[in-house]
Amino acid sequence: MARGPKEPQLDRDLADLPQNLRWREWLRRIEVVLFASATPVSRDDLAKVVGQGASVDLLIADLAADLADRPYDVARVADAWTLRTRPAYAPAIRAAADVGSQALDLSDFDTAVLAAIACHQPISRDGLRDIFGKEISRDLIGRLSERDLITTGPREPRRGAPYTFVTTAIFLAAFGMESLRDLPDAEQLTDAGLSELLPKS
């Protein structure tokens, strides 16, 4: 595809700025990239806008300190970062902004299937049918895939070699988890009356 006049190359190293201003500019770039992106931005991508060898981790730490008294915060998701509003402001956001249309927009049953995939992954549609006692439609799986909450994993080693499904980094971000270790453990699930979600051992 032909593009218009080429954008001037981003000056990453900012060699002509004094050190403190250079750092300031890098911080702003990281913040603006995170601000502009709806999904978490990986370390590699962030490293593209700052000088060679500049530590993304140190910049993120400084950014987090800068944001200490702001109503949003920089959050780590797997090996990537995103800006996230602080939970205390949730009521204000809900009262005024129309976030309903941006939310995941999943039915309760979709969410239950997503939870089962998270706890049992990798799991195929047959595995899900065994848990829920009914066929899980391709449409439902499609809705979860469309939102990038799940993706295909390895095939199951049996007739027809059906695909399994696993959760993604977006899934972790959407539910405020850093890794699958943050999923509730067996005891928490049992206490919540959700023991049917427990992996069969």
Binding site: R43, D44, D57, R76, A78, D79, H120, Q121, P122, T151, T152, G153, P154, R155, E156, P157, R158, R159, A161, T164, V166, E178, S179, L180, R181, D182, L183, P199
Partner: protein
Amino acid sequence: MTKRPVVPSDPAVFIPQLPRWIMTATAETLEAAAFRSGAALAHLHLVTGNSTVPQALWRARLALSAAESCVRIMGRREGVVALRDAVHLIRPGDSPGPAGEILRQWFRAVSRSVQAAPLARVLEGLSVEKIAACFDGAVGNPVDRAVSVLESMLVEMPRAETAALILTDAALAKALGWDPLVPLLSLGLKPRDLRLRGDDLHLASHRAVTTASGQAVTLAADLTRLATRLRAVVPQLRAKGAGKAVDLFLSHDALAPGALTGLMSDRAARRLCDRLVDLDVVRELTGRDSFRQYGV
């Protein structure tokens, strides 16, 4: 019908186990733990240089265990069977999934040279310079050097435990002059150990090296015995390419018969696998009727 091969009583086949005093620990100081881990590593050093040990197969099996513990650390529940399925039964264009990817990374890590450039291709997200700096920057005894790599990685990239552990075992191997690396700290460290820092992490690591060395020596002894038997049956195998197929078994954790089709027809590959199972030199690993996998 089953002819058992005569087991040669070659003394070189015998791999001595670690002395018991190394493996028995009570509440101990860092110095005592370091003494034991040093003794265990010196013993293991002889195994890494022993040509009767099927080195590639040994490292691949250790890599499988290392991958299993990395998967557990990530909060996933795939066991050895699921990990093998994901990697060995993969079809072109399919994804091995997040857990299979970890096993694949480990298999690559133990089959490449312990140099910054080849490891950078295994450890996505880490530059050659970064890996070289990890190898050169650390000081002290080999275990301490590996632990300082682990500690800095855990602080810098707290959610990239697999990369951290591969690099840690690579730093250990580098300091000991082993090539390719042998997974040890990644086998011996428990998930909760990764939250320790400073002297506590050092103590846990010395212990981990000692326990893992014990396991690695036992595994080396078992595999050497099995490999000697497998090599001994090669003259009895008439299939074309059988010798090369045996070499593959001696360097891979597990093989689906399909992996042998470069050497022989699909049917011949299945028959050879069945024959090796009949001779009791190779096992079927899955217990399934289809999608089978074989290994020493």
